[in-house]
Amino acid sequence: MRVRAIRTLLAGLMLAALSGMGALLLPPLAVAGLVLVAAVLTLHLTGRPPAPAPPEAPPDAPEESARILPLVRQPPPAVGLSAPHLAALMEILERLALNAVEDTNRSSTDFITRLMDIETRVSSANHQHSAALAELTQIDAMAEGHADDRTVIDEAINTAIGFNQSIQVEYAASTNALQEVETSISELHKELGTISRIAKEIDLLSINAAIAAARAGEAGAGFSVIAQAIRGLALETHNMTLRMEPLLQSARGTVQSHAARKQDSRDRHKGEIGQRLADQVTLLESMRVKLRQLATDYAALIENNRADVEHSQQAGQDVEQAIRAAMATAQYGDIIRQQIETIIGCLKTLRAVSERGAPLAETEPELERLLGGLSGGYVMDSQRRAHAGGGPGTPEEPQVELF
């Protein structure tokens, strides 16, 4: 009866090991080991006597970790159940399971360590993306600020263009003014000739008047005085025109000299000044257009960069999320470990029972409790669901709550 119960219990353990561990990605070697031990144990429990063997270390005992237990076969205990090697087999089974726990832990922690390393790098890249976006925003803000500068430059260009145009107008006006002055001097010279000629005629008239007054005798004496005064005035007028002549000549000479220099300069530069002013206006207009184009290109460049960085950042965040999901999946190893630990607990109990060799009536309830605990005990279904999906099973539910 006791042997049958143990056999049933072991069959349950084997089934759990094969269906649970195998499905939960246990290392293939560990599964093969468990299958082998299960076969040996089942063969043993069917009544066939095991071949006695002395204690010896397996040839391929793991050396890479002190925590990996050697699968050393222990000598059969002096007392026990009808099957004397049962305790030794169970101890090996325990060790195998403990090693599987160790391997699972190592596998999971190594995997998660690598994932965390990747996640740290991706996270760092994401921070850099954020920094790049912040910088772009800053540049954008600066460009916005420079919009005022562009207005100032525009105004400066307009002022420069206006100034150049007014210089051109002034230049033309000054040339015209010189010509007008020269014309006026010529007119004055002509008028001066007329005045001189009139003065001469008046002189002649005054002479004739004096002659006529002398012929008149006593009666023309007063008129003779007047004719003399008129002659004096005519002479003075004539003298004045003579004095004015060199002055007008000098003024005309100055104006003509200035006009000649101007003409000479104009001839020498052949419209160079006007052309230069026109060129400067063209250049300033061109600068204005280029500045506007530069601002537009700059804005487009920033926008493109922003789109690229945002795209890259989104990709980085997706990768980070995927890595976290992978880390959650890697924690699936905990489910394996907890199940193997359950199996180890059962094996410990079985070994204790077999070593104790207690009477059937005393042992049977203990085994029944063990069976009951296995069949109705802690099942990791919820954690399986959580980890298999790479995260909590129902994302719409809150994942955190404060009481």
Binding site: D381, A386, P398, V400
Partner: protein, 123 residues
């Protein structure tokens, strides 16, 4: 800088939580069991917040919280329990033991950081 004590028998959970909390700027203490956590706290460690798994060999998360709440210095320390989504009965048990709240494993970083900022406003 606030220090958070994480208690979990899973080395992978301890690792990932440590990395997450460190990135949030918290100091981290780790314990692989409730007993180890109690030893650490009795030895003078004074975490500002405790996050504990529920299912652990030896004392479970609720028992750990109960033991910590019995200590004068931890009567008001925030304590969160890590559960799986279907463990609603465990949440109630943790609440009765004095837990401040619960978190679903594996913890969502955004929600975790948000709740930690509420519980540890001084960082």
């Amino acid at each position: 800088m606030s220090t958070i004590l994480i208690v979990d028998d899973s080395p992978t959970v301890l690792m990932s939580m440590e990395q997450l909390l460190s990135r949030f700027g918290y100091g981290v203490m780790k314990a692989a069991s409730a007993e180890e956590a109690l030893r650490s706290v009795s030895g003078g460690s004074r975490p500002n917040l405790v996050i504990t798994d529920f299912n652990m060999p030896g004392k479970n998360g609720a028992e750990l919280i109960r033991a910590l709440r019995a200590m004068a210095q931890h009567r008001f320390t925030p304590m969160l329990v890590l559960t799986t989504e279907s463990q609603r009965d465990r949440r109630e048990e943790a609440k009765a033991a004095g837990a401040t709240g619960w978190l679903v494993k594996p913890a969502d970083p955004v929600q975790l950081e948000s709740v930690l900022k509420k519980l540890l406003p001084n960082g």
